[in-house]
């Protein structure tokens, strides 16, 4: 069940194990975490594997502490991560705000379950806002990657470590309970990204130089202005360089179905069923939720008649689709509040009602 990686052979494993193994292959030196369903297998896997490899593992007293431990480790330039889910990711929001301000390469695996509050352990996409808009204070963004298959759980975990260190910004892999628990064949390739040199900022001890300070406290308003301008110039660069999406059949589409994560798989099938029925449907899947592929959606809005956002929540990503489309065409919602994604046939029926 658990892969010995990296290797070119395909292995049947569940999303949570795949993420954990990918993190180890990516060179993750420290894991700090607290159990919560449906992602506990990540911590279970890490507890054994990290000790075996002589790397750091701490069963933190809370998610709040776990994320701050990640910050501490990242401040030394180490690759470090935590994983959690929904109501427990809420406890990390303060630290995520600090980590963006500290410009630290934090990696968070967020495996969504039903909410609000304790909710339930069914799959959900109800934390789109939590990940992309943030619950911490102040102006900041997290880089958010949304896998739709167990293979993408691996590939995007690699990418999460790379982007976090490249941009010195907290990065979230936004999976869900379905991906975490689902088994699929995966290939663990070598970590494909270059290692980032962090020697200019990491805390290593003030040897032959003055002490470095990683801080977010800016008592003077003008200092905070300068910092935020710099931070948002970085976000602009991330938008220009790292926006990623998948699109199929959008060129001649009358209606474009927009969906992310595990839900998008049934939406892709629904799009094909629509085509069989003579409905000219297209498929658009944001892979990076921040940066959101707004520019491309805006272009497509000039070519198509309608967009439909398909989500397992009460409608969250639809806000970003509407902002991108900016009133050019109507944007509708097909949703299920919580649980496994709606079946392709059900999606088709609802598309027929909307067009």
């Amino acid at each position: 069940m658990i892969a010995e990686a990296p290797s070119s052979k395909k292995i049947l494993t569940k999303g949570n194990y795949a993420i954990a193994q990918a993190a180890i292959n990516a060179g993750c030196e420290c894991y700090f975490g607290y159990p919560i369903t449906p992602q506990s297998e990540i911590g279970e896997f890490m507890s054994g594997k990290m000790q075996e490899l002589g790397r750091a593992y701490v069963s933190a007293e809370s998610e709040l502490a776990a994320m701050n431990m990640v910050i501490g480790a990242c401040s030394t330039g180490a690759k470090a991560m935590t994983s959690s889910s929904s109501c427990a990711v809420s406890l990390m929001q303060e630290a995520l705000s600090y980590a963006t301000s500290d410009e630290l390469p934090v990696v968070l695996i967020s495996v969504m379950r039903g909410g609000p509050g304790l909710g339930n352990i069914y799959p959900s996409q109800g934390d789109y806002f939590q990940a992309t808009k943030g619950g911490g204070n102040g102006d900041y963004r997290l880089i958010v990657l949304a896998p739709s298959t167990v293979q993408e759980c691996v590939d995007l975990t690699y990418k999460a470590f790379y982007l976090a260190h490249k941009y010195k910004n907290p990065t979230v892999l936004l999976a869900d309970g379905l991906l975490g628990q689902m088994m699929e064949p995966v290939e663990f390739k070598e970590y494909p990204y270059p290692e980032i040199d962090n020697s200019s900022w990491a805390l290593t001890g003030a040897k032959g130089r003055d002490g470095r300070v990683i801080r977010s406290y800016a008592p003077l308003a003008e200092n905070q202005c300068v910092f935020l301008e710099k931070l948002f110039a970085k976000y602009k660069a991330i938008e220009e360089n790292e926006t990623e999406w998948e699109e199929i059949g959008t060129e001649d589409a009358d209606v474009i179905l927009v969906s992310f994560g595990s839900t998008s798989r049934n939406v892709k099938t629904a799009m094909k069923l629509c085509r069989e029925k003579g409905i000219k449907a297209g498929f658009f899947r944001p892979i990076t939720l921040f940066p959101f592929p707004s520019k491309r959606l805006s272009e497509l809005a000039s070519k198509t008649k309608k967009m439909i956002s398909v989500e397992v929540n009460m409608g969250q990503m639809i806000n970003d689709v509407r902002l991108a489309v900016n009133g050019k065409i109507p944007v509708e919602l097909i949703n299920k509040p919580v649980g496994a994604p709606p079946a392709p046939e059900e999606i088709v029926t609802r598309i027929e009602e909307l067009i």
């Binding site: 700090f32 502490a65 701050n68 431990m69 501490g72 030394t76 805390l203 300070v213 990683i214």
Partner: protein
């Protein structure tokens, strides 16, 4: 031939200017930490985790690598630093509100795990930076801006004895409470800081020093009256001494079962 008998510690930044209020003991405590870092030759391998409160700008004074933790989370961050880089010397400098109120879970769990880090906690019985509100260490009867008629049990409950609680944790190697109200006690405080740092160097576990300090501004007292209060009031509840030292075999005797 002249001999230098006094100098500014190298672990302090050049031309350091403290931003503490006149008569505040923070300046003395920071200076002691700097002297110990110098004497133990730890400056170049130190990573400081600063905290929130009057201690927040510690990195402006100490010339060591540092990170500022969110309020109460210093020992979680110190855990992360030490686990990532076990060869570094890692210490926190926190207030009593940071350590024992908002951060009690992070603080005691670091001690319980026996994290091989050191923590300095300044106890001045109030939230200094925000203007003198009631904190976890505010004494019974003490008037603050949020206990206008004095701390009473009905509304506020008991103050916390930090050094004793830390000493009860199995992972603690050293826990002491000291004060800065006299030259003799300042010297004892320095020895305690040195010990708390030494146990980390030896890999023995969590080292802790609670420093009783003045807050003349919020206590509305002159510096000398404030030190009198440390002696006459604080030290009655917060008794100075070593509560645990695994190197000497001394253990805390705080809780004795009544049925013995």
């Amino acid at each position: 031939m002249t001999t230098q008998v006094f100098k500014i510690p190298e672990s302090l930044r050049e031309n350091v200017k403290y931003s503490f209020c006149p008569g505040c003991d923070h300046g003395v405590a920071v200076r002691l930490v700097a002297e110990v870092l110098d004497e133990m030759e730890l400056k170049e391998k130190s990573i400081l985790v600063a905290s929130i409160g009057c201690s927040v700008t510690l990195y402006d004074f100490l010339n060591v690598d540092s990170i500022e933790a969110p309020h109460g989370r210093a020992l979680a961050e110190a855990t992360g630093v030490k686990r990532a880089r076990p060869d570094k010397f890692v210490f926190t400098y926190q207030g009593d509100g940071d350590f024992a109120s908002i951060g009690l879970a992070e603080s005691l769990h670091a001690a319980l795990r026996g994290e091989n880090v050191s923590a300095i906690c300044i106890n001045n019985t109030t939230y200094g930076m925000t203007g003198g509100q009631l904190g976890p260490t505010t004494l019974l009867g003490q008037v603050t801006t949020t206990s206008p008629t004095g701390r009473n049990l009905e509304y506020y409950g008991y103050p916390v004895k930090i050094a004793e609680h830390v000493a009860l944790c199995d992972g603690t190697a050293f826990s002491a409470r000291v004060s800065l109200d006299s030259v003799a006690n300042i010297r004892k405080a320095k020895q305690a800081i040195k010990k708390a740092f030494e146990v980390q160097r030896q890999g023995l576990g969590f080292g802790f020093v609670e420093i009783l300090s003045t807050c003349p501004t919020n206590w509305k007292m002159s510096p000398s009256k404030a030190h009198e209060r440390v002696r006459n009031e604080m030290m009655k509840t917060y008794v100075s001494g070593v509560y645990k030292d695994v190197t000497s075999g001394e253990q805390a005797h705080i809780m004795r079962p009544s049925f013995v």
